[in-house]
């Protein structure tokens, strides 16, 4: 069996295991209880990770670039964005949860539309489908989520 097939099976098993762990035998109240988020300082850790991922592979001679592209940096930036997305705010209440939910909704819609537009656009223009890597889509979705979340919060904060 190929390594890729083994990886796909392993990811599928982990995914179903997580689903069972999250929902099996739990009451509705337990499933819908407060969001579990990372501590607040993970936000700063994420920022540092993004800065390192964007600069270090280009700054030093570490052989981190593949075909002149910063693939490792993109993965590091994705991890940094993930930490920022799921880090707690100073005060987490029901309105914050609603803003999070709406921002996720918007970002998933944005990601979906992005894929559709890029695919259709490249097919119409170049007669071939756009091959977008998964990490790029994840990057866009998380970036849009962070943008939407903080813009909404700052609008609420500035509205006296």
């Amino acid at each position: 069996m190929e390594l890729k097939s083994i990886l796909i099976i392993a990811v599928a098993i982990i995914f179903f295991g997580l689903m069972v762990w999250m929902f099996h035998g739990k009451s509705e109240k337990e499933v819908f209880k407060k969001l579990k988020l990372f501590p607040r300082w993970f936000k700063y850790l994420g920022l540092v990770l993004i800065v390192i991922s964007a600069t270090v592979p280009f700054s030093f001679d570490l052989n981190l670039l593949y075909d002149g592209k910063n693939y490792i940096g993109v993965q590091g930036a994705n991890l940094g964005l993930f930490l920022i997305c799921f880090a707690r705010d100073k005060i987490e209440d029901e309105m914050t949860n609603l803003i999070r939910l709406k921002s996720f909704y918007r970002s998933v819609i944005f990601g979906f539309l992005y894929v559709i537009v890029m695919d259709t656009g490249s097919y119409i223009m170049g007669n071939k489908f756009n091959e977008m890597p998964a990490y790029q889509l994840v990057f866009y979705i998380m970036s849009f989520y962070i943008f939407s979340y903080y813009i909404t919060k700052s609008k609420i904060r500035s509205d006296k």
């Binding site: 100073k90 005060i91 209440d93 309105m95 914050t96 609420i156």
Partner: protein, 66 residues
């Protein structure tokens, strides 16, 4: 939904920040509730009514659009 949160706050001489701390939410949440941009959950409405020692119906009222 119409609410009398600002009036009740003034009667009790509480700032948005004071009320927010009493019920464990952010000041922005209180501000949004007062402006009618955010409708609080039943739990939060009950917490607010407990602070003002008044029934929920005296603080929150249904609007014609609800």
């Amino acid at each position: 939904m119409i609410n009398r949160l600002k009036i009740e706050r003034a009667i009790k001489n509480l700032t948005q920040d004071d009320l927010a701390k009493l019920i464990g939410v952010s000041r922005q949440t209180i501000n949004s509730i007062e402006k009618g941009r955010y409708v609080p959950s039943t739990v939060l409405a009950l917490k607010i009514s407990k602070v003002f020692e008044k029934p929920v119906n005296n603080i929150f009222e249904l609007d014609e659009s609800d």
